[in-house]
Amino acid sequence: MQRIGVFICWCGSNIAATVDVKRVAEAIKAEPGVVYSADYQYMCSENGQQLLKNAIKEHNLTGVVIGSCSPRMHEATFRRAAAEAGLNPYMLEVANIREQCSWIHKDMDEATEKALILIRTAIAKVRLNTPLQEGESPVTKRALVIGGGIAGIQAALDIAEAGFEVDIVEKNATIGGRMAQLDKTFPTLDCSACILTPKMVDCAQSDKIDILSYSEVEEVKGFVGNFKVKIRKKARYVDEKKCTGCKVCMEKCPSKKGLNEFNMNLNNRTAIYIPFAQAIPNVAVIDPEQCIKLKTGKCGICQKFCGAGAINYEMKDEFVDREYGAIVVATGFRPINIDAFNEYGYSDNADVITSLELERLMNAAGPTNGVLLRPSDKTHPKVITFIQCVGSRDVSGCGKPYCSKVCCMYTAKHAMLIREKYPDTEVHVFYIDVRTPGKNYDEFYRRAVEQYGVDYIKGMVGKVYNENGKLMVQGSNLIDNEQVIIPSDLVVLATAIEPEPSVRKIATLLTASIDTNNFMNESHPKLRPVESPTAGVYLAGMCQGPKDIPETVSQASACAAKVIGLLVKDKLKTNPCVAHCNEMMCNGCSQCANVCAYGAITYVDKEFRIGGGKTEVRRVASVNPAVCQGCGACTVTCPSGAMDLSGFSSKQIMSEVEAICKR
């Protein structure tokens, strides 16, 4: 037999002025199951809580209803008090008779009657409440960072700084990412390598950080605090431990015609190579598509010349299994393919290049050693025209609907650097809008115009064509309302950026969601911007949306803070108001997993007795309570009603409905 206690709070005059609390407390005594009823001035006060605790003990209460302010205010307070008195805190319900009753009604009779109904409704619910226990799950004190660009590096360094072990999985042969390819960085114009490479070295030297380069995440199991990850270490045909990075192999390799990805294919590299001078790890890798030995079996020159004996043509992909408590996704971006923008003549003219290609052409370690020479004839371009928004803000289907965010700033940077280095060069920039919000950003852009005399033209380019060796850039100048044709030597396209496509696979592995543009979804756009909806998975950098280096670094550090906050805990407390599956009724139809935003539902084959001494194997759903957030989407999808939600069960809600509708 249930023994329910009801407590009506006056909240000073906040409730008592409109609701006749005495009458309510009196009337409620007649409710079946109610053994105690009281009213008090401030239930949330020390004395009020003591009243509650005493009553629970004295009257052996099995359930409690508090008629007071919103449960969003003091539900936690009252539940704590109940627990202190030995009652399971989830056996307590709050009826909101202040915000949703006394404060909005003036007529005392009306408000009193409504308060009665609200309390009866809460009693109806509490009758069906069951004691719930917060779960616990252990935390593996190690983090995984997927992607070794600036976002991954920063997150890893910050996590390691707090004393936790962290692995960086990078699919390329070196960490560094896109930032390593950049020449200078806005708005300060410091050299990208100069600020990045020390951080790369820090990673390599940290005893807390393990860099798994040339590796990819293959499989993810488990959940927050307990991820089990399988990592594929791709065969690099060079023993990482033996290679000294002496580069003799690169000098001797006869296969020299591979496209140098690091230099945006603007020059060639050998089949065995180290991507760039400051690579971490500073270890060679063999491109199996290009290596003569691996393709034909004949050659083996690098092996002959390697003093360290590091070359191993027999190497196979290896798999490493590791466990982590938290995962940071930092997979980065790439420029979009601009084949669909033939009007700019990119595919037909060597001297129409993308901004990232220009970065390499300006970089001292690039194919031209930092001397700006145009690709076609290696001469100094005298007139350079930049075209912004190539593929950004494009809903025609050729490009991307979003603003890529970084192009305005890097174009201003390029224009400025060129004018600084080669003052005799004429620089034009076609723009739709110049978007430079941020500290010292607009000042930076204005400097390009005011100090360096860069010609900004408000308008878009309609066509770039080659005429008598010049690139004719035909576009509109909307301010002067004229069509201009600028004979140029070099045309630079500010290409839109998109998430690195491997993020799709990562998102699937992590059961994290991605949006229509392949950016990873954050848990809340304003309040939880670095957390993925999947608990224990955090997002840093471009994988979540277009952003520049300062923003990326901030987000990476924010991720690290979240990860540290998780890893310092020994055990994770789990919300007990989560979904659970009644296996006897589950069809195993997979409908519920379709709507679970957290990937909390998996399916297992289980044997059931079906009478007559027989058994049968059925597929049934199983909810991981550590991952489930308790939204209830699955409960409605389930046709058999096998899925239910603790704390908000179907029967509880129906009993509330009945109590309200009873006339």
Binding site: M585, N587, S590, Q591, N594, R619, G641
Partner: protein
């Protein structure tokens, strides 16, 4: 016996004899010519009772939930509309597809014995189909009927003659697409006033005797335990319980199968009270098509169903009333 029936039985014998299949699911001769019923055949001898005639309207796919659990492979003969049901069950992991040999067979619409009886012909002994005509033989003689007049309701508006996801087919002639638009009747109801619609459904559903035939035959209603049989669900009915569950049974059933119902039409076929239950499910199908793009449950054996999916720009519930009406 028609060529088609011969071919089907031949294949069934073949499958059993070769051991390729441990059993065959098909239709078995009933007491009369017009009441064949779904059955399992384990041996060649049993196949003597196998029939495939104009009255084999029953959808065999639901039986596979249980049968596919038995050892060995099960061969099953499926009409085009039945193949969609099987595919949907495979999608929901209810049938182990690896244990099934699905044979798609020709169907040009099945006959409704009630409609024949209404025409004054009883004790039917045979119905032979030639194009648009059916010669119905009975103990009292022969009469030629227009096929369209005696087709099952579900066959008048057959959604497709496609045989989806089958392993092999037995189709001798070209199957003709259905003569009429399956959403016509739904539209007729939509064009009525709310009061008229209410009156219509009130008159229809008041005939319901809660025999559960619609639920028991429905391939989508295959829950291990139905909410209406579960006292914990809050909607289960016992004798003398309140009216809620009885009254709203059909609404909840339609909602539970929405996005999953393949429109096989079995619910209406088996209803002893001749309630046009398919019009409930079809409303959902039509709304889904209009609001979320054309979708045919059972067409694919994987992917999300419309109600477990979304797009950012979906129609708002308050605005759906106009969106649902097809132009």
């Amino acid at each position: 016996m028609t060529d088609l029936e011969n071919k089907i039985i031949e294949r069934a014998e073949n499958l059993l004899e070769s051991g390729e299949a441990a059993r065959v699911v098909g239709w078995k001769k009933g007491e009369f010519y017009f009441d064949p019923s779904p059955a399992e055949f384990d041996s060649k001898e049993q196949l003597r009772d196998f029939v495939y005639n104009g009255f084999c309207g029953a959808n065999l796919s639901k039986y596979l939930i249980q049968v596919s659990k038995k050892p060995g492979k099960t061969a099953v003969f499926l009409k085009p509309c039945d193949t969609f049901s099987l595919n949907q069950l495979v999608k929901e992991h209810r049938v182990n597809r690896d244990n099934i040999i699905a044979i798609g067979i020709e169907c040009n619409g099945k006959l409704d014995i009630e409609k024949i009886k209404e025409k004054g012909v009883s004790a039917v002994t045979e119905a032979s189909e030639t194009g648009k005509e059916v010669t119905v033989s009975s103990l009292y003689g022969k009469s030629v009927m227009n096929k369209e007049d005696i087709l099952l309701i579900k066959c008048l508006t057959c959604k497709s003659k496609k045989l989806v996801g089958v392993d092999e087919t037995i189709v001798l002639g070209e199957m003709e697409e259905a003569p009429s638009d399956r959403f016509e009747e739904v539209e007729k109801l939509e064009k009525m006033t709310e009061a008229e619609r209410f009156a219509f459904w009130k008159s229809q559903l008041s005939k319901c005797i809660r025999c559960n035939a619609c639920r028991n035959v429905c391939p989508a209603c295959s829950c291990v335990k139905c909410v209406f049989d579960n006292p914990q669900s809050g909607v289960a009915a016992k004798a003398n319980d309140d009216e809620f569950e009885e009254q709203l049974f059909h609404i909840i059933r339609a909602f539970h199968v929405s996005g999953r119902c393949t429109d096989c039409g079995e619910c209406s076929r088996v209803c002893p009270q001749r309630i046009p239950l398919h019009l409930l499910n079809r409303k959902f199908i039509k709304d889904i098509n209009t609001c979320y793009g054309e979708y045919q449950a059972g067409e694919a054996a994987d992917g999300k169903t419309p109600l477990t999916d979304y797009t950012v720009g979906d129609v708002e519930p308050n605005d759906v009333f106009n969106a649902g009406v097809r132009k």
